[in-house]
Amino acid sequence: MAQIRADEITSLLRQEIENYERAIDVSETGSVISVGDGIARIHGLEKVMAGELIQFPHDVSGIAMNLEEDQVGAVLLGDYTHIREGDEVRRTSRIMSVPVGEAMVGRVVNALGAPIDGKGPIHTTTFNAVERLAPGVVDRQPVKEPLQTGIKAIDSMIPIGRGQRELVIGDRQTGKTALALDTIINQKGGNVICIYVAIGQKRSTVAQVVKTLEEFGAMDYSIVVAATASDPAPMQYIAPYCGCAMGEFFRDSARHALCIYDDLSKHAAAYREISLLLRRPPGREAFPGDVFFLHSRLLERAAKLNNENGGGSLTALPFIETQAGDISAYIPTNVISITDGQIYLQTDLFNSNVRPAIDVGLSVSRVGGNAQIKAMRQVAGTLRLDLAQYRNLAAFAQFGSDLDKASQAQLNRGRRLVEVLKQLQYQPLPVEKQVAIIFAGTSGFLDDLPVEQCRKFEQDLYSYIDNAHPSMWAQIREKKTLDDALRNELQGAVKEFKARFIAQEKQATTLNA
């Protein structure tokens, strides 16, 4: 707090005294009947509206959630330990809003939009309501621009478009957050503002995320909203809406934003906690009846606006943590049905070193090919099919039966494609490089290489094209499609490189031997 000089106080007091006559403060009040567990029951406040902000003493605010016959149930935001029975509370006639705008970018804030990164106050005068209605049908247009995650397996087979809602689902420790970080890092140099909402996570995890983003220079275009495990349940409950409100600012000002909710299972649990404390009737798994609406109204706010509205977009990547791979539990099925597709991460794959551990069979993107550049669609068209056939065959081949030549070839191809789709953490790839390696894989250039050399081949291919065909990346990037000339050039380059690579490897083995 800035130091106040004595004469400032005097002048302020003088003003107040001069204006004394005018100031009669009219307010609607109630009194606290009981308080506990982050919930207050209030008598009075007859005219309060659902969702309205209520002012408690000691600068604590609350949200009216339950309007009952003779009392109001409110959740408390902030430190409620000083609030006592009988305290006077006031209506504010406002609904909860958070600061939004450019100044938020690069900051770490709590669920109320207050900075928690120690970098001083945030200078913004724009506020957005936390709960807003999603854009209507006429304000939208179909998702068509790609949002590149930089992850080969996703961009090739489960493409995400700007304005899409793609669920990322998997057990703990399957690389969900890693996927989010890669996606954020890949937006560097682009025009997408990333908002990472951490709900119910450990503070250490959030600190780690922020540190990683800073290391890769990704905080320059990111906002982190943190409602950690030690924050009260109401804070965890509003955090995603708060992050969404910040994203909406960019969407509505004709820009692009990506909102990552990590994760919505904990959000649902926080909401369950509030609901049970407010004595709303529990339903399946003790979640309240409106837990579906809880998530649908949040995710509906992700949208691609039409050109009359500026054409901005808000993409949502909600996360769900499953228990022992059970995607048919209550919250997972809810969110699966709300979103436009899901990316399923599997423990088994993760443990067998397929990372990112994306289960291609269960992952889909319902917006699909529209959100891919044409070049990627051209090369990745058969990728899904090849992998599906490979999985079928691999299960069959485990019995050690003799296979015909066609099946052998398919197994071969599959193994190499799986290898090609592996990717290290924090190394997102630009789309042109993805096109090159997937082209090599699906056109069979890798079929006669040993599986373990595939990844080396990939790395060397990139550096070879960097040196020998420097204009090719730009061409793919700008044309966005592989026309005959470009395809031939790419094919030529891969062939040429492969010959070198084989020779080089042979030399290496003879040297070693």
């Binding site: 707090m1 800035a2 106040i4 106080i9 302020l12 007091l13 107040e16 004394y20 100031a23 009669i24 403060d25 009219v26 307010s27 609607e28 009040t29 109630g30 009075g44 406040l45 007859e46 005219k47 016959e69 003779d70």
Partner: protein, 182 residues
């Protein structure tokens, strides 16, 4: 069902009858019921007799009827007490009467106001304040005045859950908040 729901239901039914076409003078009804309440509160024997399940309903009714005659209660008031006896709600009588009073005020266009002032007011000031509150709310105000020296100066009026704060204490608090926020 919460007890407050029961109370408000009996109170509004009674108010319906009292203000209805075959009704009676409302203040009179209130006064008569208060009289019975005082009698009931004063006699533990009567309370026990009316509450005890061992006493037959017919005998309770007879007792209430007799008392009502002695007190000279009007028909509506007497019938109301008999209904309460039949429904075994005599225990909630005091609360019901309070709620009834509030209901009556509402229906007759009265609001209750609590007025706190820093110093005791003379009648002219009280009338002026009540007048001003009537103008603000558009209803006739039934004010209760109390003196609260901690307000330092001015007055605070509370009508329902709306508070009109014109006190020095309120101003100082607001000023304090403003300074703390800057």
């Amino acid at each position: 069902m919460t007890s407050s729901a029961i109370v408000s239901r009996y109170a509004s039914a009674l108010a319906d009858v009292v203000t209805g076409p075959s009704g009676m003078d409302a203040p009179q009804a209130l006064q008569q019921l208060r009289g019975f309440e005082a009698l009931l509160a004063g006699s533990v024997d009567l309370q026990n007799a009316l509450a005890s399940p061992a006493v037959a309903a017919a005998r309770k009714r007879a007792v209430v009827r007799k008392l009502a005659d002695q007190l000279g209660l009007a028909k509506i008031a007497r019938n109301f007490l008999l209904v309460l006896t039949d429904h075994r709600r005599m225990g909630a009588l005091a609360e019901i009467i309070d709620a009834f009073e509030i209901q009556l005020d509402e229906r007759l266009g009265f609001v209750r106001a609590e007025l706190h002032s820093a110093v005791s007011l003379d009648d002219r000031q009280k009338a002026a304040l009540a007048e001003e509150l009537s103008r603000l709310t558009g209803k006739r105000v039934r004010a209760r005045f109390t003196v609260k020296p901690e307000l330092i100066g001015g007055a605070v009026a509370r009508i329902g859950s709306t508070v009109y704060d014109g006190s020095v204490r309120g101003q100082l608090d607001a000023l304090g908040h403003k300074l703390a926020a800057e």
